[in-house]
Symmetry: C2
Subunit: 442 residues, 2 copies
């Protein structure tokens, strides 16, 4: 080719970073380490021009002296030489939200890893981005380094998605894998996760399914073209799981995983949207059963493509930085569009489907006193609540006086299980809290 | 928002389809079935305006009467009302290549599922697309419905990729899975695959690894920013695998998969690019070991994101159409860039690395006569070739007079294995062709 066909080089994309913790440090390292490669792929250099965080003098193990420091985050937005602000402050509201609004309001591009903020304020932010015709990108908010936002927003864009589900919280998956391998209790596995840095001192956000709920609400909006509705997501965590549940699941050819699932109701119950985070039994011939440790994985089922499965690191400095910088490169390439694939005003408002009406097989585990008549009492409660039993196993419990009863039901609504357990709650012979989990249908 | 901020609706994107076989039929069905959804996601309607194929009157099970028919494919390019030509003719050269050149030469967008054409002529076509500033998209050419081109080109774009590898041919994976489950021979499993429609009457392209080689060369160019070089890809197929190999691999805790792998040489051997398709032993704790039937899966290892794993349908009308229409939607959104992520002239020219110098553990299987001294002969050949043996198993063979010997080597170059087998080729006691496969390192 002649030299005359080479286009003029594009000016650098100038990036400001807000919040330099583990992830922010990862972004600095990545942009430095892969600088030349990124310039080639983005078609222009990507340069950090300014940084802001709470504490300038904290030792972060990286040299930030070469970058301009701003004590006031607002100065990143006001600066003439900033094209993109990367928000890594965290929290649904407060400083993160203020910065996000200022950035988009000023017509600058916003990249964020903040799942809580997107789950709660994503629609408002997307609307603001549209008004100002500026990018809002959040690949790192769901499943860390896995490019699942892009895979669904663009890769699967030709498909009507029937359901989207997956392992959206690495902390819980690490705990479940520990319980599986060592026969550990939940408390022991949690302590191990905390020791390894996979769980926080206060693990509520992770183990109660709140973090997964944030991510699920974002996936649902993208998959179904609906308005983000975090309040419609119900979440049950993994605190009530026992070592016996993990063992019994295994005996049934399954593994327990905390699954966030969003699905269009079949229509009989009003055609709403089901969004639930809960522990499930995953059949051993499903790829989610093999997702180990702190990994994340997402499944999307499209009406033409069939089942797509994506797996990778769901957290950590490197993977999260990878997703953030991928967003920055998209912006550098001018390859972006509406944050939720279509303008906010054209997203549907889907009613929440009744999770209790959802049909499926269930696992139920009870610990009961070892005495005559208890099994009859359970069988009667199931019958009276309309639960049809496919199989039942009784085993010796952890002490002499109790036995474990595990049932697998035929297909039926979750509400019937709740009703049966409501009847049994009045029994003097049931010990502790029963556990019930849906069995994932292939 | 006030009505005044709503942008004017964009005009439809007008698509012409060339070649209406299984895949073309899938594209017509998809664009019809998901019409409204696609218009919402693309920001504009996508309309088929013209169709061309060899035989107008063949029964394809779909009504094509509503679309303009052109006997001459060139008329699709010449038509004023065509924005995008979708090439589904197939073949590296001939009519497909002529149409591709005409389309890009006319400044129109080209979408293709043609892996052979991209592998052989992708660079020339990409250069033509750049000159004319028009899109060239080929998501369907690699791994069918899995959006792996997008995941690597964009999702993992922040990373230096250390290696990319995967199951790129569903026919071979179907055959290997059959052999695994039923203890079938290669010939029996191939016949089953042909009966199920997973293999062609002449299976050469699939079972000899040629199809996988085409796809691998495309992935390598994208991952490493190098010029496509199909001639540098070496391919060994699965014809020589026996039921015993599958069984022995299983006994070693592995499964046999046909793996296409591209990797940067460590530098000691010149820093070239290794591109090889061959059967490998995959450890049972690697996700590729669980990819069943005709599915495809791709792994990319990035220096920040770590290991990404993508699985889905690698062929078939629906999945291939999904990938083709995703490309069309990207074009409708104006979200596209250089075909290989950067301009052709800035791609590196990487020398081919010497596959034989590659270090790894190997599986070697020999069938030998059951007599004194044979084992000593094998051990001597390995020693003389510098192959260090980690483990060795001898079992009774399929008949009374022979035994199977399976060795696993310590890490060493493939060349040493070739040398040892070269020495043993002269032996009167080795029966049939020995098999050797690398063991995939995690």
């Amino acid at each position: 080719m002649s030299a005359s066909t080479v286009p003029a080089p594009r000016p650098p994309l100038r990036v400001a970073l807000a919040g330099i913790g583990v992830v922010g440090g990862g972004v600095v390292r990545l942009l430095e380490a892969n600088r030349d490669l990124i310039a080639r792929r983005a078609g222009r250099p990507v340069e950090i021009v300014a940084i802001s965080a709470r504490d300038r003098h904290r030792d972060r193990g990286i040299d930030l002296a070469r970058y301009r420091w701003e004590d006031d985050m607002g100065a990143l937005v006001a600066a003439d030489d900033v094209d993109v602000v990367v928000e890594m402050i965290g929290g649904a509201d407060g400083a993160a939200l203020t910065l996000a609004r200022q950035t988009l309001g000023a017509g600058k591009a916003l990249v964020t890893a903040n799942k809580a903020m997107i789950a709660h304020h994503g629609l408002d932010l997307a609307r603001l981005a549209e008004e100002k015709d500026t990018p809002l990108k959040y690949e790192a908010a769901v499943a860390g380094g896995i490019p699942v936002i892009k895979a669904i927003r663009e890769g699967a864009s030709a498909n009507e998605i029937a359901r989207v589900y997956g392992i959206l919280n690495g902390t819980c998956n690490y705990i479940l894998t520990q319980m599986e391998r060592n026969g550990a209790s939940f408390a022991e596995a949690l302590a191990a996760a905390q020791a390894e840095g996979y769980a926080e001192a206060d693990p509520t956000f992770d183990v109660d399914g709140i973090d997964a709920a944030h991510k699920l609400s974002i996936l649902a909006a993208l998959c179904f073209g609906t308005k983000l509705d975090i309040d419609a997501v119900t979440a049950d965590g993994i605190r009530n799981l026992t070592a016996a549940d993990i063992r019994e699941a295994e005996a049934l050819g399954h593994r327990v995983r905390l699954i966030g699932m969003a699905e269009r109701d079949s229509g009989e119950n009003g055609g709403g949207l089901y969004q639930h985070v809960q522990p499930c039994l995953v059949p051993s011939d499903h790829p989610l059963a093999y997702v180990p440790g702190a990994l994340n994985a997402v499944v999307a089922e499209g009406n033409f493509v069939g089942r797509l499965f994506f797996e990778g690191a769901g957290a950590g400095a490197g993977p999260t930085a990878s997703a953030i910088v991928a967003d920055i490169i998209d912006i550098a390439r001018d390859e972006y569009g509406p944050a939720f694939a279509m303008p906010v005003d054209s997203l549907d408002q889907a009613p929440a489907a009744d999770a209790g009406a959802r049909i499926g097989k269930h696992y139920v585990r009870l610990i009961v006193e070892d005495r005559i008549g208890v099994l009859a009492e359970i069988a009667a409660a199931m019958r009276d609540a309309g639960v049809s039993i496919e199989s039942l196993i009784q085993r010796g419990g952890d002490d002499e006086d109790s036995v474990i009863i595990v049932l697998v039901t035929h297909e039926g609504p979750a509400n019937a299980i709740h009703a049966a357990l409501g009847i049994l709650a009045a029994s003097d012979h049931v010990v502790g809290t029963p556990m019930h989990m849906p069995i994932l249908a292939l």
